[in-house]
């Protein structure tokens, strides 16, 4: 459903994405993890046809994205990392606009909008201008835009940022439903708990290179060979793979300098770091 073949994107001498290969099958939720600036958003932008790769190919539902972007985009839904919308349109009008772009029959658009607005608890606000919406509400509208066309492939870049816990849970449930009905979901996130609980497979990218890919179990066995029985969280694995462990000593040092560290000898942030380490 989603396939990246030797995908590379260079900005001068910097390789934002370096020879990346991955594939996501129908019915699968793929979690894409990585530190800030690792190349997650660039990869997603190439896969959804917003950026041309320097070399390599991206395929969506059997269509080469670079060669036939309009056909590929018809098959996918995309939620960007920041929910920018037209402030002088209402939520309903924006969704209608997206539906018309995709040539969905008007009656179906209206029915689908009603459903999505009810699902995201926006029915009361659907006829207000988006300029008055909060960040979280705009995020919900963007997700609704992506779902309107009932896409076979869904890309979400940090979908839960700005959402309250109830809405974040709703989004997770929706993604699971889409995957269970045969769709492919590609989600980039910083929230490792989401990736661990929700994703069937995860990929970790660092400095543009996909350094690990597989189920969480597979990654555990790769990251800590010989300790298959030990209990490691995805956070531990992530830090181990991306070199985050080197900061632990520094954090411990900063915590010991902080005035509150005297009072909070147990259960403090320092203690938490120790436990995680």
């Amino acid at each position: 459903m989603i396939r990246a073949v030797n995908l590379t994107k260079r900005y001068g001498s910097l390789a934002a994405v370096d020879n990346l290969n991955l594939s996501v099958k129908p019915g699968e939720i793929f979690g894409f993890l990585g530190p800030n600036g690792a190349g997650k958003t660039t990869t997603i932008k190439i896969l959804v046809g917003l950026l041309k790769p320097t070399s390599g190919e991206a395929w969506i539902a059997g269509t080469n994205v670079a060669k036939d972007p309009v056909v590929a985009k018809r098959a996918l839904g995309y939620v960007p990392d920041t929910p920018h919308v037209h402030e002088r349109l209402t939520a309903r009008e924006l969704l209608r606009f997206v539906g018309d772009l995709r040539r969905i029959p008007p009656e179906k658009i209206e029915k689908k909008i009603d459903e999505l607005m009810a699902l995201f608890e926006l029915t009361d606000r659907q006829d207000e201008l988006l300029g008055s919406f909060s960040h979280g509400m705009r995020q919900k509208v963007c997700i609704a835009c992506a779902l309107l066309g009932e896409p076979r492939v869904l890309f979400l870049d940090e979908p839960t940022v700005g959402l309250d816990p109830r809405s974040a849970r709703l989004v997770k449930d929706i993604l699971r439903t889409i995957a269970d009905s045969g769709g492919a979901v590609f989600v980039s996130t910083h929230v490792l708990e989401i990736a661990e609980r929700m994703c069937d497979r995860v990929g970790i990218i660092q400095n543009g290179v996909l350094i690990a890919e597989g189920t969480v179990e597979e990654l555990r066995s790769k990251a800590v060979p010989g300790k298959e029985g030990a209990v490691f969280s995805l956070e531990d694995l992530f830090l181990k793979l991306t070199g985050g462990e080197e900061y632990k000593e520094l954090i411990r040092h900063l915590s010991s300098d902080h005035p509150s560290s005297d009072r909070a000898s147990a259960g403090s942030s320092a203690g938490d770091v120790e436990r995680r380490g």
């Binding site: 917003l50 920018h84 207000e128």
Partner: protein, 563 residues
């Protein structure tokens, strides 16, 4: 005070650092703007210097009369500055004091609120000085030069100008502080925008009335009287009068009480600035945090926004984008402002032409040949429409802003999108031209036949709209936010000005094409246009269409798929 200077210093440094590290294209743009600013200032100054020289030569024998006219001219220029401050100063101050992106960060720091406010207050004051000095200072400098006054007068005039602006800025800030504290932010902004629009339209009407009077009068005495209605005694309550009195008080031959001008002006400047900074400690934080608040609209009123839905509406990229743009246009105060301004301009143009025809002036001017007038009747509405579209449809790709991702991620073909934007850009000139040509049918004004005029108008519109869309596709600025009288930043303002000036140039070129028979003196009698003009215009329209289908479409495809 230390905190305030620290913030201000950082703001200044970041501006210059940003310019220093900017790409060459941006640096060149900055240099061009600075040069343009200097050239315009010099042109204003030179024009005023010639006028004061003319007064000295013509009325040197009657010094009282000369002085009276000079006072009125100087006061009129100060009044113009005051108008500009009201028109754009409110928005400039609001943007700096309430919408600077770093305010959230600064207000979280252990810094007194008044220091943050004070730094932004001074920053917006600096911006206002830069924006208005182009119109305000050159006239005074020209006056001093024409009269051969010493360096002290130049300093005094500059000081008077700066104090006047400080007083105006202080008053605006006080009003903003009070209003933002007690009214919901969005409502407040809407009110200020509406006020600026009405004031701007009033200025257009008054200036057009003066211009009409000057056009009809042709007598220097009437012209001077029209420009200088504001006698100091009649306008004693205005700070501009205080400034004029204060500065001219240093010249005994004017017999003006200088101290009577300086005292209230300086007191107002100090009082309003001090008052704003003191009150900011109480009101600023609450006003800033409530800037996005709005009175929740009643459900019934809110429902109105979505409108009726047709079950058989036209779909696809072209229709959905055009429908969306027109819907947003309907809710945009900029469009109503620019349409009203263009209509007023067109109305006065028709009125002046009709008056000239009634007086027989046109026949005299063109030796019985009405070709120039006929061409003007076609290109003027195209021009007025293109000025409107330069702020709306002509920059509609840029105005997609950050929401452009919706089109990029949607299945939007470049060609359909380009033609939706083109249609949107062409609508104002087309509507203006059609309406004006129909109106001409009922007047005595010289004009070509309705159908020929419409055909020529459509071709001219096509060329101008293609130019605007081409500029927007090749040089998009997705941070552009057009607001009344200005845009969100210098870059946006320059983009719109370039759009307007290049449209003006293109309309001039089109007029030149239509006037070819007159230029080459190869016929063109009566109201007819020779075939060579039709062919040249058709060739330009064909070229514009080919440009849209070819390079512009390719460029837009790139924006959609690789940006």
């Amino acid at each position: 005070m230390g905190f305030m200077w620290t913030i201000l210093r950082r703001d200044l440094r970041s501006v210059f650092a940003a310019k220093g590290k900017a790409p060459l294209k941006e640096k060149l743009g900055f240099i061009v703007i600075a040069l343009l600013w200097a050239v315009l200032g010099t042109a204003f100054g030179y024009g005023a210097w010639r006028l004061f020289g003319y007064l000295a030569a013509s009325f040197g024998g009657v010094p009282e009369f000369r002085s009276a006219v000079e006072i009125n001219l100087l006061n009129a220029s100060s009044l113009f500055v005051l108008s500009m401050v009201i028109l754009i100063g409110i928005q400039t101050t609001y943007r700096s004091v309430y919408e600077s992106p770093d305010l959230g960060f600064l207000l979280c720091q252990p810094v007194p609120v008044w220091a943050v406010f004070g730094a932004k207050y001074l920053a917006s004051y600096g911006t206002m000085v830069l924006m208005t000095s182009l119109h305000g200072l050159p006239v005074w400098m020209a006056f001093a030069s024409a009269r051969g006054l010493g360096a002290g007068f130049y300093l005094l005039a500059t000081a008077g100008f700066l104090v006047l602006l400080l007083a105006c800025h202080g008053c605006i800030s006080l009003i903003l502080l009070l209003a933002m504290r007690y009214l919901p932010g969005r409502k407040m902004k809407q009110m200020f925008i509406a006020f600026s629009a009405i004031f701007g339209i009033l200025i257009v009407i008054v200036s057009q009335l003066v211009s009409a009077r000057i056009t009809q009068a042709g007598d220097p005495a009437v012209i001077i009287e029209s420009l200088g209605k504001g006698q100091l005694s009649k306008m004693w309550y205005l700070p501009t009068t205080w400034m004029t009195k204060g500065i001219l008080g240093s010249l005994p031959e004017f017999g003006v009480d200088g101290l009577g001008g300086w005292v209230p002006l300086v007191l107002l400047a100090i009082g309003s600035t001090y008052g704003a900074i003191v009150l900011s400690e109480k009101w600023y934080l609450a006003g800033w945090s409530g800037r996005a608040d709005e009175l929740r609209p009643a459900k019934k009123k809110a429902r109105r926004h979505s409108g009726r839905v047709s079950g058989s509406r036209l779909q696809g990229v072209y229709w959905s984008v055009l429908r969306k743009d027109l819907k947003m246009l309907w809710r945009d105060p900029v469009v109503w402002y620019s349409v009203v301004v263009a209509l007023i301009g067109l109305g006065f143009f028709a009125y002046n032409m009709m008056t000239a025809v009634q007086k027989g002036g046109l026949e005299e001017a063109h030796s019985g040949d009405t070709l120039v007038s006929s061409v003007m009747m076609i290109v003027m509405p195209v021009f007025m429409g293109s000025v409107t579209s330069a702020q709306t449809g002509g920059v509609s790709l840029s105005r997609e802003g950050e929401a452009f991702w919706l089109l990029r991620a949607g299945p939007a073909s470049a060609r359909a999108l380009l033609f939706a934007k083109f249609t949107y850009a062409a609508l104002p000139p087309l509507i203006f031209t059609s309406a004006f040509l129909v109106f001409l049918e009922f007047t005595v004004l010289p004009h070509v036949s309705l159908w020929l005029g419409l055909a020529l108008g459509v071709l001219a519109t096509l060329v101008v709209a293609a130019l605007q869309i081409g500029l927007d596709v090749y040089f998009p600025d997705f941070s552009l936010k057009v607001e009344l009288g200005a845009s969100s930043g210098g870059k946006g303002t320059v983009k719109i000005l370039i759009g307007i000036f290049s449209s003006m140039g293109m309309v001039g070129l089109l007029a030149g094409v239509l006037l070819m028979p007159l230029i080459f003196r190869s016929g063109g009698t009566g109201m007819g246009l020779p075939a060579v003009s039709y062919l040249a215009l058709a060739a330009m329209a064909l070229g514009a269409t080919m440009f849209l289908f070819g390079p512009a479409t390719k460029r837009l495809h790139r924006l959609l798929t690789d940006m």
